[in-house]
């Protein structure tokens, strides 16, 4: 259990104090995958660094399993950090060490003997699917492979918590999905709590159970992912959910329409035209208001906004029609909220 209570982080600059975080409070349950999303400069990276005290919060406390991190001595803090693994946007592998030695790095820090460390490192590389690259150097790997090595390294000291700081931001969509799949697997198999920092909606949608939206150092909204994204209340969330124009703009343009959001989370792309079939089978006319989908490995990711007639029966029918498809999620978007 991670309890972040009323933390603020102030940076002193020549032009006066700047607050990177203002009164942020979050509770993250064990075993959860918690997303923290926001545009760049929203304070996400500062927030995640306050969890392992790479940045000391100016005010407030961070408790991990009941231990107040800010009260720990430097030495205790270093011990505690061994339970909190971190992966980064730039992978941060040591370039002069081969993959095996990179995975051994945290075990070396913990004083585990070499033979034992290497044995475990091989197992971890196998877990991330890179056993054959054990003696390769980072410069010989692709971005996705580098992040896999970084993940293997993060798992070396059997952490309870994994912090992912924009871990997929430097990767292409296919690799992003593979890495997210690996993180999901780690969360489920090893029961490691995961905190995901990102600016990408699809990252949160595909692996997170809970999400907090950070805007200008303030938590704009937080809760279960489906709930937050289906009923965006704050402006910041609306901007994220509707990047190509806020909900308000949509309402103005189509007053008698009701918006339904379809989320494709790896749905099989078939040759069936879904919208046309909805019209043929159910007699419901849908207007594609906005679509942002992409196909990866024959699967569709992303979302689509459909404008349909403002009628509760039609809405319910449309939603149930799409909900019965695997990996498709449909929900109403309440623009009047």
């Amino acid at each position: 259990m991670i309890e972040i209570k009323n933390i603020s982080k102030k940076f002193r600059t020549e032009g006066g104090d700047i607050y990177a975080l203002k009164d942020v409070s979050l509770n993250i349950a064990d075993g959860d995958v918690y997303g923290i999303i926001g545009v760049s400069g929203a304070g996400k990276s500062t927030l995640v660094r306050c969890i392992n005290m790479l940045e000391k919060p100016s005010e407030g406390t961070v408790c991990i399993d009941g231990v107040d991190m800010s009260l720990l001595s430097e030495k205790q803090l270093r011990e505690k950090r061994k339970e909190i693994a971190m992966i980064f946007q730039g992978f941060n592998l040591l370039m002069q060490r081969n993959c095996l030695k990179n995975v051994c790095f945290p075990m070396e820090l913990a004083g585990i003997n070499r033979v034992e460390a290497e044995k475990k490192a091989i197992k971890l590389l196998e877990l991330v699917g890179l056993k054959d690259k054990a003696y390769s150097y980072p410069s010989q790997l692709s971005g996705g492979q580098k992040q896999r090595v970084a993940i293997a390294r993060a798992l070396a000291n059997d952490p309870k918590l994994l912090l992912c700081d924009e871990a997929t931001s430097a990767l292409d969509p296919t690799t992003t999905n593979q890495i997210l799949e690996l993180i999901r697997e780690i969360n489920q198999k090893l029961n490691i709590t995961v905190i995901v920092i990102t600016h990408q909606m699809n990252v949160v949608e595909s692996i997170c159970r809970h999400v907090a939206i950070l805007d200008n150092g303030v938590v704009a909204e937080k809760g279960p992912v489906g709930e937050v994204f289906s009923h965006p209340k704050s402006e910041a969330t609306k901007r994220l959910v509707f990047p190509e124009g806020s909900a308000d703009n949509l309402r103005k343009s189509e007053p008698d329409e009701h918006i339904i959001r379809l989320v494709f989370n790896g749905a099989k792309a078939t040759n069936t035209p879904m919208i046309a079939r909805l019209a043929l089978e159910k007699g419901i006319e849908a207007n594609i208001t906005y679509a942002s989908t992409k196909s990866v490995d024959d699967k569709v990711y992303g979302y689509m906004l459909l404008g349909i007639k403002r009628d509760s029966n039609i809405i319910a029918e449309t939603i149930s029609y799409f909900m019965q498809m695997p990996d498709v999620y449909a929900e109403e978007v309440f623009l009047d909220d």
Binding site: N92, L94, E108, S136, Y137, Q140, L163
Partner: protein, 234 residues
């Protein structure tokens, strides 16, 4: 004149066989031993310059860092020949004499360790700050960050800089020849300048050039070979 300068005079052969082997050995010996001690003092100082910085991993009091910086800059700005004279009392204290190859090593070390400190600082500052953050996030102590991240990650750059230091020290040893130091510098000065046997001086200089070439070539190769970033895709 120019003809006699480069012509090989058989009369000089005796001088060459009598003086060159030991002179070459003295030059190599003085260069490598002096550089070794310069590294021994300079590398830790370079590490302190980086980690003791106010944004470093182990910030030291700023007055201490300032004093350190002033001393290093001061030693770096004194011309070598003058430094040799200035440190003579110290040389006498350590070696017992101010003449000879061993005596020349004292000013050589004093002149080159501040240089080593500066170039080491440069090498360590090239290490990606994100790698340091990664190590901190994993609970590394400052000492572990120095020994497992900062130094190993900058090995290729350190090798390049050590190579440059060696060639610098080599040229200083030749200069030391003017003030009682041994080696090829002494041969060049005493035969070429004092006795007007220019060809001996030219040969000594050619040998120095060859030594620099060899050191630089080997050093550059080692630096490239050690750099795992330059490994191509398999």
């Amino acid at each position: 004149m120019t003809k006699t300068l480069f012509m090989f005079d058989p009369k000089n052969w005796e001088i060459i066989t009598a003086t060159f082997p030991s002179a070459i050995w003295e030059t190599i010996y003085a260069t490598f031993i002096s550089t070794f001690f310069a590294l021994l003092i300079g590398i830790p100082l370079g590490v302190i310059l980086v980690v003791g910085d106010k944004d470093g991993i182990m910030p030291l009091p700023s007055w201490l860092m300032k004093i350190l910086n002033v001393i290093i800059n001061l030693l770096r700005s004194v011309p070598f020949l003058i430094l040799m004279v200035v440190v003579m009392p110290l040389t006498r204290l350590i070696v017992g004499t101010v003449v000879g190859t061993v005596a020349a090593m004292v000013p050589l070390v004093i002149a080159s360790f501040p240089y080593v400190a500066r170039v080491t600082e440069g090498s360590l500052r090239e290490v990606d700050v994100n790698s340091i953050e990664m190590a901190r996030s994993m609970g590394a102590t400052p000492f572990q960050i120095i020994t497992k991240v900062l130094i190993p990650e900058s090995v290729p750059s350190l090798i390049s800089n050590i190579t440059i230091t060696l060639t610098n020290v080599l040229s200083y040893t030749a200069m030391a020849g003017a003030l009682g130091g041994g080696g090829l510098g002494k041969v060049a000065i005493s035969y070429g300048y004092n006795r007007y046997i220019y060809s001996i001086m030219i040969y000594a200089v050619i040998l120095l050039v060859i030594l620099v070439q060899v050191i630089q070539t080997v050093g550059t190769r080692l630096a490239i070979k050690s750099d795992k970033r330059l490994k191509g895709n398999l």
